[in-house]
Subunit: 135 residues, 3 copies
């Protein structure tokens, strides 16, 4: 069974989508199944990360900016703007799909884990994630 | 159900395997299932990336070469050649498995997404990917 | 079906958990199913890597230490110690979930592939992985 999660992002950043994913799960879901998230983009990605301290999210982004600078002199694919090629590289370094077991019918997230969409472009816009449930 | 995708690579590079994966899917596949790709190697990996501009693929590789140099002075595992340890690191930074939902019986790839085998060694040779279909 | 793998780590390092995962698989498992591992933490991750030469594991860790230094001046989230924020970044760059097909009832690992828990914190402690089997 698939559900579709349509989101609007406001630009670069980490968006906590945990509650939106939970709300999409069918009431009749298996107690020991598997939920797979798949993002249909190549300049945004998925991340399971700490949901407690917002400084963790800020530091994650700062590290990525240092590692993958928005500096056009480093890239040949520049016609879509200085943030486009870095966005592709950041996506390649993180996840396009993540699978989370269902444990007693709930996502088996750890105590401090949240599900994030990591948007790597500056411009606002729509993003789509497929939520697949099996079991 | 599993299918096996045997490939021959010509050396380092990103190989678009989207059509080969699609051709392996069984005709009787579920309309809302899950396709998981698994690569049986530790010096090649899987990537979902933009399939439109070949410069994106070139820039991805250039970034990786800068981040993980083929410089033997950086590593102790050097007996398999200067590209072997960097290949292991590049594999660790990208994906060994990727799961893509089936949406109305087709891989739920986004408009610009292709499936790539990312070969990190210079030498040509055979590579094997398992294509698992569930649902 | 889910099994729970409880582990105690001694601090930073790569721990080969292949045999522990295999021992948890149910005897009545499907011959062509899918095994998904999910780690319930944000400062430890999962990795499929070469299991032959321990120098590969040492070099992987050295590369990560150079790329993500334990240097508090680089981060704002420092109250949990100088290794905590680097551990979150290293986890983001590697995998929280990995899916491995069952081929004739066995994990479809390649000849040189092992399954590792990659602990990114220095302190010893417990870690938990969910092993989901479908098919």
């Amino acid at each position: 069974m698939n559900a579709i999660l349509n989101l609007t992002v406001e630009g670069q950043g980490l968006y906590d989508i945990t509650h939106k994913v939970q709300a999409l799960l069918p009431g009749s879901r298996p107690r020991e199944g598997l939920v797979t998230l798949y993002i249909r983009h190549t300049s945004a990605s998925l991340l399971i990360q700490e949901n407690a301290d917002p400084q963790v999210l800020a530091d994650l982004q700062h590290w990525m900016h240092r590692a993958v600078p928005e500096d056009e002199s480093l890239y040949t694919h520049t016609q879509e703007g200085p943030d486009d090629m870095p966005a592709h590289i950041k996506s390649a370094l993180t996840a396009t799909s993540v699978s989370i077991p269902l444990l007693e019918g709930e996502l088996a997230l750890g105590t401090w884990q949240g599900i994030f969409l990591w948007e790597h472009r500056h411009r606002p816009g729509p993003r789509q994630i497929i939520v697949n449930v099996l079991g």
